[in-house]
């Protein structure tokens, strides 16, 4: 009852804010008209010589050539191009497997270049064009018609589409900040808390009304973008990802608004959390292109959209969706914890321990709270790990050992912070709470990394055990006042397991 009523009034509130609606519509229109403009810019950029913009090394580009023509000799003269002469069927197979960067099918008067949105495909295309140009300059009577159906345009379109599709989400999810932080600042929340509506209903209604609003806008957005040149092979999949991301951003905004002491601070904190989300999900999209990895595809909603716009029939990214829901649920739990603290009613910022107390009030069990803290640790780990790896890479260099250490230390460190908040008092309690933190963490990680959801339990059982054991050691160490030592031990143990896995994977055993 309370939830429905408050959600309805929340929606009415959003739709009565004319200035906000106007800015949403204007923002969407600007984005829509940007699509053809950017496509045109991409087309013009494509005409320039890309080769000068990139470091060139010997035979870095592989082109499968089908057919014979004198201009092939020009192509062979290019020091960075390696030519493979095959039949058309083999050429296409090699291209699909990523073993060549492009296929050049040629006959007497015309040729066709086929590339993919894979690294260096654009260079292969440029090299072919270069060879055609040189050949035509030598004998300008001869006309040669080159058709290119893939390359830079698709590459940039793949990067452009996710940004255009996902950036409006950050505007759509602003009402939740207004609703939570404004009510707190004006203390309207005091009279709401004095009404029979439960706090969980109050917060859930704010999230839900914003989510419904985003779903409506998302549907309109999906209907409009095809008219401006963006087409998806599975529009429903893109819509589902769009809404999942909207949920994530709304939950993050609800969290920062519940913690911030006023609306201005909440807006500032929201821009920071949005930057983290963009960095996390969008930078991985770029990984798909330079270079493509399996994990990038799993981690990135942007990659999913890029694949959709390229016409690839990618299935639903269930792993990613589950992880988004875990992070969203964690953010909601933390927001509710902040909402339940007394600091909230007094417009003060709750500390970590108060958030934990709020969580305890909601869950009413230390074990449940420990399990929840595992999810919290995992949710924070993703951006922290990314920053840790990035810093290690830029400051120390691409040393595999140090990269591995930074990632492991980030994971074990955040689980240790969770245990520090839980404050186990004796050995057994420490071990149990640690195991629960590790279990939740391992489960979340497994949902993200397992290649097939159904195989998650089989494939990821060992990492889940490693996470549980390591955290159990830290929990016991905390209770026995050997906290720092136990954290180091856990990091070493975790690293040892990771190194063993790498050695095994590389066949060096």
């Amino acid at each position: 009852m309370g939830l429905g009523v408050m959600t309805w009034w929340g929606l009415k509130g959003i739709f009565s804010d004319r200035r906000f609606l106007l800015s949403v519509i204007v923002g969407m229109l600007i984005s829509l008209f940007t699509i053809p403009l950017l496509m045109d810019a991409v087309g013009r950029f494509k005409e320039g010589n890309l080769l000068s913009a990139l470091p060139i090394s010997e035979k870095m580009v592989k082109v499968a050539v089908v057919g014979e023509h004198p201009l092939i000799a020009e192509l062979e003269n290019n020091s960075m191009v390696e030519i493979v002469r095959v039949d058309e069927e083999t050429a296409m197979r090699l291209l699909n497997e990523g073993k060549v960067h492009g296929v050049f099918i040629v006959n007497a008067t015309s040729g066709r270049f086929i590339g993919r949105s894979i690294p260096l495909s654009n260079l292969a295309e440029s090299a072919v064009k270069d060879a055609v140009d040189k050949f035509m300059r030598k004998d300008n009577k001869l006309l040669f018609n080159l058709k290119s159906d893939l390359g830079l345009e698709e590459l940039l379109r793949s990067l452009l589409a996710p940004f255009l599709m996902l950036t409006p989400l950050f505007i759509w999810s602003l009402p939740v900040i207004q609703s939570v932080a404004y009510e707190r600042e004006n203390k309207v929340v005091e009279v709401i808390f004095a009404s029979p509506t439960r706090r969980v209903e109050v917060l859930a209604s704010k999230v839900l009304s914003n989510l419904i609003f985003s779903m409506l806008l998302g549907a309109v957005w999906m209907l409009l973008v095809p008219f401006f040149g963006l087409h998806f092979s599975n529009p429903i999949g893109v819509y589902v990802i769009l809404i999942s991301m909207a949920l994530l951003v709304i939950m993050m905004n609800a969290l920062v608004s519940s913690i911030a002491s006023n609306a201005n601070e909440a807006t500032l904190a929201s821009s920071i959390s949005s930057t983290i989300i963009i960095t996390l999900f969008f930078s991985i999209a770029i990984l798909k292109v330079f270079p493509a990895t399996e994990i990038a595809a799993k981690l990135s909603p942007a990659t999913y959209i890029a694949e959709q716009v390229s016409g690839q029939g990618t299935p639903f990214p269930f792993n990613l969706m589950l992880v988004i829901y875990i992070i969203s649920a964690t953010a909601f739990l933390l927001a509710l914890s902040a909402f339940s603290t007394e600091s909230f009613a007094f417009s003060l910022k709750p500390g970590l321990s108060q958030l934990y107390e709020g969580m305890m009030e909601i869950l009413r069990s230390k074990n449940k709270a420990a399990f929840a803290m595992g999810f919290v640790a995992f949710s924070i780990t993703l951006p922290v790990e990314l920053v840790a790896i990035g810093l290690t890479f830029f400051l120390i260099g691409p040393s595999a050992f140090l990269l591995l250490l930074s990632a492991t230390a980030a994971e074990e460190g955040l689980k240790a912070v969770a245990l520090n908040v839980l404050k186990p008092t004796h050995l057994k309690e420490g071990a149990v709470l640690g195991a629960l933190v590790g279990l939740a963490f391992g489960l979340s990680e497994s949902l993200l990394l397992a290649p097939v959801f159904e195989l998650m339990i089989l494939i990821r059982i060992a990492p889940i055990i490693v996470h549980s054991v390591c955290s159990s050691i830290v929990g016991a160490g905390y209770a026995k006042r050997y906290f720092a030592l136990s954290v180091i031990l856990a990091i070493l143990l975790h690293m040892g397991y990771n190194l063993y896995l790498i050695r095994y994977a590389m066949g060096m055993r």
Binding site: V5, W9, K187, V191
Partner: protein, 294 residues
């Protein structure tokens, strides 16, 4: 009930009772713990220890039910500026699961029926207070808790709110009023609890409290000649309060005789002589500053 924030004890073992249909005033200086006490009774804050019952319902165990029978008016009007007065009341009617039939009646009660369609952001502070009062009454609560109901209001608006509170008492509601205006407490309350440093320092009817305070009694003397007021006060060893000379009583008859004699000597014309009763202000000062409290 006790409420602690870390090491600081805001409410320290407070125990009071209010009878049905009574108005209890909780008075005390700023920081005495009144608002914290009110927030606990409204279930916004949980007590650190102890509990309270409202209409037989425990404020900790039956918090949801308590909220349904209590109407709370906070110190400052807590309103949505973007809603109209009518929408604001409709929202809370929905939140409390009540129909909207009472809205016209409540708007009339607080005198805002002509402003029902205007945005609350355009209301004056007094109007915001009145719409807040209507909001607190939307679910027809049996118990009303009012925290500084006239704080920051002009005299006319204050009188308006007080009259409305008084009329609600007549309709059988039990009311707890937190205030630091003594005249308001005197006007409204059947019973007073004076809070100081988180504790209840005194409880009783206003008359009982006044009777307890100040063993020393005074005479107030008003004379016709303004120029002689200060001279008369000096001669009598008293003080001046406005146009009144205030003299300590050391035996009623002898003091009155001394006043007449001195006035005659100074050729002053006495207009009135009256004994001065202690006010609630005196009670408040005595209790909160450790004065002549019996």
């Amino acid at each position: 009930m006790t409420k602690k924030f870390g090491e600081f004890t805001a409410v320290d073992g407070v125990s009071i009772s209010v009878n049905e249909g009574e108005i209890l005033g909780v008075v005390g200086p700023n920081g005495a713990g009144k608002s914290t006490l009110v927030k606990m009774l409204c279930t916004i804050l949980a007590p650190t220890s102890g509990s309270a019952e409202i209409m037989g319902l425990d404020i900790v165990k039956d918090a949801q039910k308590v909220r349904a029978v209590v109407g709370y008016l906070p110190e400052e009007p807590r309103v949505y500026d973007y809603m109209s007065g009518e929408e604001f009341l409709s929202f809370f009617a929905d939140v409390y699961g009540r129909g909207r039939e009472r809205i016209p009646e409540l708007l009339e009660f607080v005198g805002l029926e002509e402003h029902a369609k205007r945005k609350i952001g355009e209301y004056s502070k007094g109007m915001k207070h009145r719409i807040s009062l209507a909001r607190a009454l939307i679910h027809d609560p049996q118990v009303l808790i009012l925290d500084e109901p006239t704080m920051g209001l002009d005299p006319a608006s204050s009188r308006d709110v007080r009259e409305r509170v008084k009329s609600m008492r007549r309709s059988g509601k039990t009311i707890l009023v937190c205030t630091h205006y003594m005249d308001e407490a005197d006007f409204l309350c059947d019973k007073l609890a004076i809070m100081n440093r988180g504790k209840i320092a005194a409880v009783g009817k206003p008359e009982e409290l006044k009777a307890k305070v100040a063993k020393q009694r005074y005479l107030g003397v008003v004379i016709k000649e303004d120029a002689l007021i200060r001279k008369l006060a000096e001669e009598l060893g008293g003080g001046v309060d406005g146009r009144m000379v205030v003299v300590g009583i050391r035996g009623m008859n002898s003091t009155i005789a001394r006043v007449h004699a001195t006035a005659k000597k100074l050729k002053a014309t006495i207009l009135s002589i009256k004994t001065l009763d202690p006010s609630l202000d005196d009670v408040f000062v005595a209790v909160t500053r450790g004065g002549k409290w019996a």
